[in-house]
Amino acid sequence: MKVGKRSRIQIYFDILRILCEELKNDKPSLTRVAHITNLPYDRFQKCLNKLIQLDMVREQDGKFFVTEKGFECINEYERINDFLRRMGLLP
């Protein structure tokens, strides 16, 4: 994943989105999610804990799930990004 300097919100969104994609596998590997989002594992863990605290990700039996709130966040972020793209403000 090629990334420039990202805001904290962009990092959270990337984690949620990749976690969402990886959930299609039976058990998403956190190391793999950290790798794809281009984050050191310790920083990734902090972000993941924050997402759990915000009730966007839930841990159950060692598995991580994106909650309804997490899905809403992804949708809202994508809507804004698409809006800005359509407005000609993003490449």
């Binding site: 949708n75 809202e76 809507r79 804004i80 809006f83 359509r86 000609g88």
Partner: protein, 229 residues
Amino acid sequence: MAAIAILVANEILSTVLAFVLVYYFVRAYQLTRSLYLFGLPCGFLLLASSYVFLGVSLLYENNMAVSEMFLWLRLIMQSYGFAFIAFAYYFSSKTNEASERVLRMISLPSVVTIILVFGALYFTPPFLELPPASVADEWFKVLNLVFLGYVIWHLFRHLASPHKEAYGSVWAPLAFSVLALGQYSMLIWGIDGSQIAFIFAHIARLASLTLFIYIYHSSGRVGSESRKA
């Protein structure tokens, strides 16, 4: 009297639409934290204030001094609004820290100037009368058209870039073109007093603001629908 009521209602509707756009762009800024995006809520907020000032000037049309003051405020706020929008587009392709510094350098004096204009117009002694706003109106309209022309040029260049999906991207240049047509019609009305141009200008303004709102509501549908599926 009925004409004034229709015009005031039009200004109220335009203000509401502009405030809705301010809300959307503030959300966009909150999510992305890109400083250049801050120019858009500022720009639309200034446009909204210009519609308020025009509405108030219409309500005070019997008091020339007050009406003129609000017309001047309207002209200045509107041009600043378009300038902020044009700057946001200019800096959208230059997202390094240097450009953000330049944007800060532009924003701060702009805010100071706006406050000074408010103060100057309020405290100007009656013997130092400003020229009628209608005299300056045409020049301000030309300035607005320059700013809008830059935005439209930027958007068409963006649209013509390779790897750009055409669907959905034509609405923004269309909306800005309609907004520019509205300004052009007001210019025509200022020159020859054409009633058709005047009515078209107001319709064009409402249509363009509605188009911007439509762009927001039509965004992100594909992604969310595919995720639901």
